[in-house]
């Protein structure tokens, strides 16, 4: 068992894979505190959000106070302190999508799922965010479900798309 694996052992005795992945990234920055953003981006990918336990690991390994890490996490919209749904719905509210009516698409998603932007359905299946330009302006207005992009949206198409994931 190497150093990283030793540190990744959970109280149950098994290796915590997520923690192991995070520690590998931390080791790769070689103690460089200025690379905090890289580590946080990695944590966000690994866990889908940045749990307190991950913040603690980062704090200990990079010797940065928890408060400072929390400050950085809450500053950037890409970092989240709460887990996202299994299917994270994003409706683009970038200017190009907005002038083509993406607000109405967003309203329709809210109505169907019964949640607001930033919310998650009680079963943990869907969460909803409004995004700033996913870069597919040629397909505006655009809605995303995890990595899948749905272009040329209008409110009447929302239900069929969501039904695919129910």
């Amino acid at each position: 068992m190497n150093e990283i694996e030793k540190k990744s052992v959970c109280t149950c005795g098994e290796i915590d894979d997520n923690k192991k992945k995070l520690l590998e990234v931390i080791v790769s920055v070689n103690g460089d505190k200025s690379q905090l953003m890289k580590v946080l981006n990695a944590a966000q990918e690994i866990y889908g959000y940045i749990p307190t336990s991950a913040q603690k690991t980062i704090s200990e390994e990079l010797d940065i106070p928890m408060a400072e890490i929390y400050g950085v996490i809450t500053f950037y919209t890409r970092f989240s302190l709460e887990p996202k749904g299994k299917y994270n719905i994003g409706v683009c509210l970038g200017t190009a999508c907005y002038v083509k009516g993406s607000q109405m698409v967003l309203d329709k998603v809210k109505e169907i799922l019964g949640i607001d932007v930033g919310g998650i359905t009680p079963d943990g299946k869907f969460s909803l965010v409004s995004t700033r330009c996913v870069g597919a302006c040629g397909l505006a207005p655009v809605m995303t479900v995890n990595d899948e992009v749905y272009g040329n949206m209008d409110p009447s198409k929302v239900k069929d798309i969501l039904d695919k994931y129910v």
């Binding site: 500053f75 200017t95 083509k100 996913v134 870069g135």
Partner: protein, 620 residues
């Protein structure tokens, strides 16, 4: 590490393999299928198309056909784009299921698949890329390799004069000469403010310090803008090479590219390019056998618009909250890690290699007296040809909208164009003939901006547009200085009141007063420019503001609180198309007699208006 001779050998060998992509008189048996792998086309599944082609080529054992995943061709509205060279056949909006047909007919039998050819806005079939009106008035310097080379193959970049500018600089120029060339070219910062690039380089050179940095701003935050992303996706080496040249000029040995994590494809290709450049010794120590040393590192952002501001960017690169610093000291004196730093935006860098290779006088012959060269715009919104365009400075907005952009869809009328995103302003119809250059755009209350160009038709409410941008800046204000943190919030509250039909007398004056105060007293560019969308819409569409307040009406019919969707009983033929398409089942009626909308259920989405074949439904 490769010597200059070895690099030349690679150039020659690769050029012989790929010159058919530029050579229209090529008569050999090779064919290259170029498929766009930019974010737009990737979203419409261009990857599947590439895989299918490769599968078929393998199946038929063809050694003269290659598929290349390129960067953005620009015409994102017709994606996914397939171009077959040397004949330059342009297939648009293809689906993976069409690939077999293209392969059987075009590749195997030399027959063009007419049905899949790109159509121009007027419906005419376009056989080759050059015929398309979209490209006719464009001048590609920054985007010259986008859609032409495989961005993940350094050899292809080398073949089209890649790293020759760096070679010229390292072997035959002094730092002073490089800066003079850049100054003489008249190049100005493409991030939006338009500061002379040569001057910026000179300031950074003049700062005395053992350690200096060059940095590249790829934090393209303007929603609806994707110029920098497309350059990084389509031609990442052009930025790396330019950063190396800048480092040589100012005396730096380390560079940082700050790029949005929301751009995974761009980040990936940039990293591949950096690794390849290192492998060839174009980054690292003793570059091209000289004493020059330089390396580049990527730093990721995480979704904060303010980080496009130079000092906030530096805070973020250093791993902190992206809050702007007070200036002076300016970055050229005290930037990254407290050291002198030169920061340019992606598009600015992408011009550099061409300036060095072709000379300052060539570059300054393009454009207007004070704005030289070209500008890349991300054309979006209510326009037929949504996409990426590069135009010479001095072109008019009318030419961009109608000749390149193909006009406004759905028979609607042009209302305004927004440049500079949330920091910029709108340009109304009467200024369509304004030449696009830094001074002319500022003179009419807009700005060049980084290149977002959103076109709006007459269904757009300008008050609501201002509200949209303020909503954005309130969300993105970092909160460090009160005028921006509190002031923009107060402005947003007033605008929300207006669009909800609750505007009060005196609201316009309050907006104006707040705007002036926020502009004057905010710490950084975000706050100083945040009121611009309000000021410019007030300047040109004041009557719409007044209508919202005095008559509680939205002249464009967009603000839901003040409009109803109604069916004209005279015109309605009772076809039921509206009711079938209504997402909330608010429309009822009997076939062949006029239908009615239940106003309590209607969400005013407008789907019925678009679907009605008799134009019987409208907002009132």
């Amino acid at each position: 590490m490769k010597s200059i001779e070895e690099l030349n050998e690679i150039r020659e060998k690769t050029l012989s393999e790929i010159s058919l992509r530029k050579d229209r008189n090529y008569t050999g048996r090779e064919k290259h299928i170029l498929v766009c792998g930019g974010t737009g086309c990737t979203s419409s599944h261009s990857k599947d198309i590439i895989e299918k082609f490769n599968e078929l080529i393998k199946e038929h054992n063809l050694d003269n056909v290659r598929v290349i995943r390129t960067g953005c061709f620009g015409l994102c509205a017709r994606g996914p784009i397939i171009v077959i060279r040397p004949e330059d056949t342009f297939y648009a909006m293809s689906h993976v299921d069409d690939v077999e047909e293209i392969f059987e007919k075009h590749i195997m039998n030399g027959e063009i698949v007419e049905r899949l050819l790109c159509k121009d806005v007027d419906g005419s079939v376009v056989k080759s890329l050059d015929e398309l009106n979209f490209y006719k008035k464009q001048h590609r310097i920054v985007l010259k390799n986008c859609g032409l080379i495989d961005p993940e193959n350094i050899d292809e970049y080398l073949a089209f004069d890649g790293y020759k500018a760096l070679e010229k600089v390292l072997t035959s120029m002094t730092a002073e000469e490089v800066i003079k060339e850049v100054s003489d070219s008249g190049l100005r910062g493409r991030g939006g403010a338009g500061f002379p690039t040569g001057k910026k380089w000179q300031f950074a050179k003049d700062s005395q310090d053992e350690q200096k940095y060059v940095a590249c701003n790829a934090d393209e935050g303007d929603p609806g803008a994707f110029m920098d992303r497309s350059v990084l996706e389509g031609d990442p080496h052009s930025v790396i090479e330019a950063m190396a040249i800048a480092a040589f000029a100012i005396g730096a040995n380390k560079g940082y590219v700050y790029v949005r994590a929301e751009y995974p494809i761009a980040v990936h290709r940039l990293q591949v390019a950096i690794d390849q450049a290192r492998e060839y010794g174009l980054l690292g120590k003793n570059i091209m056998g000289t004493n020059f040393e330089f390396d580049v590192e990527i730093r990721l952002g995480a979704g904060a618009f303010v980080c496009g501001e130079e000092t906030a960017l530096m805070e973020s690169v250093e791993g902190r909250r992206g809050e702007p610093r007070t200036r002076p000291p300016f970055p050229a004196v005290k930037g990254l890690f407290g050291k002198p730093t030169l920061l340019n935006n992606v598009e600015t860098y992408a011009n550099i290699t061409q300036i060095i290779l072709n000379g300052a006088s060539w570059y300054s012959s393009i454009g207007t007296e004070k704005s030289k060269g070209t500008k890349v715009f991300a054309l979006g919104g209510n326009i037929n040809n949504v996409g990426l365009v590069e135009v010479p400075m001095g072109i008019t907005l009318r030419e961009i909208v109608y000749d390149i952009g193909g006009g406004i869809p759905n028979g609607r009328k042009f209302k305004a164009a927004q440049t500079g995103g949330p920091s910029g302003g709108c340009i109304p119809e009467e200024y369509l003939d304004t030449p696009i250059d830094y001074e002319s755009l500022s003179a009419i209350g807009s700005m060049m901006g980084s290149g977002g160009l959103i076109i709006m038709d007459d269904s757009t409410c300008m008050v609501n547009l201002a509200r949209f941008f303020l909503d954005f800046t309130v969300d993105e204000s970092c909160g460090k200085c009160p005028p921006c943190r509190i002031g923009t919030k107060r402005m947003l509250e007033i605008l929300e009141r207006l669009v909800n039909g609750k505007g009060r007398e005196g609201d316009i004056e309050k907006l104006e007063k707040l705007a002036m105060n926020i502009k004057r007293s905010s710490l950084c560019g975000l706050g100083q420019t945040a009121p611009n969308p309000v000021l410019s819409t007030l300047k040109y569409f004041r009557n719409e503001y007044e209508a919202h307040i005095k008559e509680k009406k939205c002249p464009a019919g967009e603000c839901k609180a003040m409009t109803k969707v109604m069916i004209d009983k005279e015109k309605c033929k009772g076809c039921s198309l509206c009711s079938k398409n209504c997402p909330v089942q608010a429309i009822h009626g009997e076939l062949k007699s006029p239908f009615e909308i239940d106003q309590s259920k209607c969400i005013k989405c407008g789907v019925c208006i678009a679907k009605c074949p008799f134009k019987a439904i409208s907002r009132v």
